[in-house]
Symmetry: D2
Subunit: 346 residues, 4 copies
């Protein structure tokens, strides 16, 4: 079969590899029907994620059809149309028992396209299939569901739930890329009074507006002052970091009111400065996190009931064989305007 | 009357000042029976707390007897033996209504010895008396109650409750000064399985042991390795910072396990480095905070019932007229072994 | 001035009484601009609420203009347009400090039209004015705000927050009177996937539909079966009782799924049967409660921002002098279709 | 092998049955080293638990040694000394993913000695072995661990955690049988200020005193008055029902203060009366529940660290062949003074 293979920093190709087979009793083999690319994949290609070794097939988001299941798989059957979650939990360790699936200590967690071969291929082996695959309800399209493999639960759990957004709140979201936009969508489930979105690109702020931002601010237009003015000098109830650099994290720490919450979603490569000399007295709560995907069943239900509309997040569509071109379009987002790309089986 | 007056950085004296009178209907005048000195007072003397202006009477912890009450005071009566809390909440603003008294927006919060004259004097004017004074139960001594003016509720709320200590947890407390020791005492109320205390001074670690630390580690003896060994490489459930410098905060961030809590109690003068490049994926929660003193009634009840024993925290006792000497002893803690000092009306 | 005076079971009149004056330093005198009638008032008229003694002026909901304030009032000023909340908290007792204002132990709580003279009059004395009056934001009409005196916070706090409604939930609301309808409105703030409303009257179910119910069921049409079918036999995540009789409470207990929440809002006059022989094993949580009105500032903010639209809840409008006629219309709701009535100063 | 077999109401025997074998890939076969009898087993013998069919081997609590594991078992190995929990969770269903293991929808939950053959035998087949067996730490005796199969986690989760016991609380525990006593032990982990225990038997109150009850009251000595006096008329913060009859549940509802919690642990066979006419206004929370056993690893840790001492709960010891005699002693607890009995492999 064909797959996107990482060959070390700066080198990757769409090439023939062996089709995966079952290895453990709780594995399933899934034929990929649609797949996407994550910002994290770009980091991997640059060599930023040391755990990813050469010859690894990348990708941790997909929708597909189950082709084979191991002897220990109970709830997933051949022929099921499934969401392949970015998180594959063992379901038995201390962390999994507390629904902290992303922190699985038994060889699970985020492993696809990271520690084992991933979904940017014609087939994938899905470990811990009962826990990592979700059968799709009727009426949910593959493309709509694809967004629930990673960015919707990440935005919802790591941003909105960790940030404890509540009705009436003022929420600042810093970063209006795919994750930031998904954060707007899922924050609205808790009816905040005002969502303020900050980004460096006007184009992304326009998308934010369409998805429900109440106020948008260019990063260059002094968001600290804008927020101060909008909140009577107090700051926002919840600030959500959706970029992954020190500057935006530090902006969030400046924007949050005493007693407020700062939820970090961004994947960071460098440290930030924490201004404890002002923050120690402000009773703030800072959270970080990899997604656990415990909310995926709930999000699927809301997708099926029409409460969530993920369609605006996919801007470009390809055949799966156009993987390299799709990578280019996604990597050049500032030029192409790409949010999420979707590649379909042909 | 006599009072400890701040005259600007490096200058203070025990001198005659006017006895305070009622200014607002909810004020009370309290005769000081016992008073103590806080590490924060030493910072003020150095000029580190810009809000404290010259001619300010310092001190925000005391036990005394009510001598006079304003017309709007309802629950406190002349003659009552009361704890003077470090926090004076208005009781009506958005923050006070959420029991975030330390963040009061109506002229309350931490004001004594900060924005208004404090308790290191023969008398103090206590604003918002119904909310800032607590009538002492019978059987609680003045000296025992004195510790509930600041350090016990600070340790309990900002350390133990914010850190969400639970039965069976492994807790690391970095810093074994008075606040760190009070954190040991109040953490034990939640029956953690193991309390590990880190400090630079063996003398303080000995005190920690006596108050219930299970393991003590000199800061020089590689606490990271000790914790790793004790926790199978995982880290502690809760790390509590009780010093107030970047180094100890960063140590706490290294000690906490994925999914754990880092509660900062320390008063910081400089920023710390937050290693988001490793922490982003660890699902940790960091909290900061000034005490709200919402737990003071509960702590008083536990003091009365014998569940808390604050007696070991007071190492030196003085007459109130020996204020300057008491300051010296407290400031030279590494030589004198002072934890908390208590000064009594003579 | 004129007022609605209770003269014992079955006897009340709109008559001349003395205009109230200040009694305590924290009182305010408010001129009533608009006022409404509560189901509880009908109970009082029948003699069901023993604490209400003859000669009491009824009413605990109003919007008005502050005419006079006591010397201890700090945040409310003469001329302010204010919401008079049904809850008047002392703000200092154990319960008020925990924001359980409805359980105030210091002479506050629900006192208006109950233990002291109420709002169905031309003027009212508002005790604990700083805590019981809320200055109205610009752009909020008197009539819209009137609904926030009692039913909106009651529905939100005692129904939605106690019931812990979450995104994606299936919620059953039993009773589609004013409180049930307000529960629909405020439950939607948490984006449940499905709201099922049960009532005995089709007319009220129609109103429920308009306010956002997804499914409506006549009480006679076997709601147990309908819910079983809609939830795959599991039951609802949250069942909210908004009537106040044993039968509807017991229905809620049957509808809730294992692990679900049953939030009782109704005012009950008689006991219900709790089927512990089936419920003991179901891990359910049952809550009861008088409103605390801690959410009133948040609800006012959402009213101002257009997130809440209370206009559909007022079906009949009168001059304040038409008080007796308004009572009749409200008491005959099944004939008149009345939800809430509003009476305006003329 | 020998086993205790239920033959319908009133008929049971200790007889030869086939030794169990593996049926599913996630089964394990455990040799029973020590086993106990639960009050629920007595209910089953009377025919009160309709789901238990004739020829069922009873028992849902044991400690044993793993003799065989299925191909899908990953974390449990032959030779492991294990606790056999009363709850066998599938680990994958909606409820198990929320750690509500007792409500498992996939054929798990409380099944041993209920829906499948149980532990009162020389061997047991343990379904879902990775989730239902817990490897014992060194230094924990079989007998001490045996109490963690059911009563300790039940008391802790359904009583103490559901009741939200907090430091400083006043807690009433109604019923001082094994579960009530285990509730005293585990409630103390949260440092309540006062535990009041009510029972009809002085002998059990004596045991309660030894395990940490602060006040004991005979049911005949008007516990309502005693609690009213001890709490200034307010009631207790938490009332825990540990009997399982209407009368004791209703007593708990009378004892709890406004805003307090009533946690039902008892297994009820008949309904109770819920006095909503007084409770509707009291803001109380009532919880029910079957144990989930999610706390078992934590309790094991505390047993190993010496924080829990279960030794006082076992009053009688037998060889496993003396099963019928042990049943008699346990069933005649009021005469024999039996709390828990332990039977050992011989």
């Amino acid at each position: 079969m064909k797959a996107l293979v990482y060959h070390g920093p700066g080198r990757h190709s769409w090439e023939d590899v062996d089709k995966p087979g079952l290895r453990m009793p709780d594995d399933a083999i899934v034929r990929i029907d649609t797949v996407t690319i994550c910002g994290t994949d770009l980091h991997i290609l640059k060599g930023d994620v040391a755990d990813v070794t050469p010859e690894r097939v990348l990708g941790h988001e997909a929708v597909g059809t189950v082709e084979q299941v191991g002897s220990g798989v109970r709830d997933i059957a051949v022929g099921d149309r499934v969401l392949v979650s970015c998180i594959s939990p063992c379901g038995r360790c201390r962390y999994c028992r507390a629904a902290s699936y992303g922190q699985c200590r038994n060889g699970g967690g985020w492993i696809l396209g990271h520690l084992v071969d991933g979904t940017q291929a014609e087939y994938v082996r899905a470990p811990f299939a009962d826990n990592s695959l979700h059968v799709l309800p009727d009426g949910v399209t593959d493309e709509a569901a694809l967004l629930l493999a990673d960015i919707l639960p990440t935005a919802y759990e790591v941003g909105v739930l960790n940030g404890r957004v509540l009705p009436g709140d003022t929420v600042a979201i810093v970063g209006a890329g795919p994750i930031g936009l998904a954060t707007i969508m899922t924050a609205r489930l808790f009816s905040p009074s005002r969502i303020i979105v900050v980004d460096a690109a006007q184009q992304r702020l326009d998308a934010a507006k369409q998805l429900g931002a109440d106020v948008t601010v260019l990063a260059a237009d002094d968001p600290r002052s804008v927020v101060a003015e909008l909140t009577g000098g107090l700051g926002v109830d919840v600030a959500i970091e959706a970029v992954g650099i020190a500057e935006t994290f530090e902006l969030c720490a400046d924007l949050v009111r005493p007693g407020g919450h700062l939820a970090n979603i961004g994947v960071h490569g460098k440290p930030a400065t924490l201004h404890l000399e002002t923050l120690w007295i402000k009773n703030i709560t800072i959270t970080t996190g990899l997604v656990d995907a415990h909310s995926t069943p709930t999000l699927l239900k809301m997708l099926a009931s029409g409460q969530l509309d993920t369609s605006r997040l996919v801007t470009h569509r390809f055949g799966i064989g156009e993987m390299l071109e799709a990578y280019d379009v996604f990597a050049q987002a500032s030029d192409t305007g790409a949010l999420k790309v979707a590649l379909f089986r042909t």
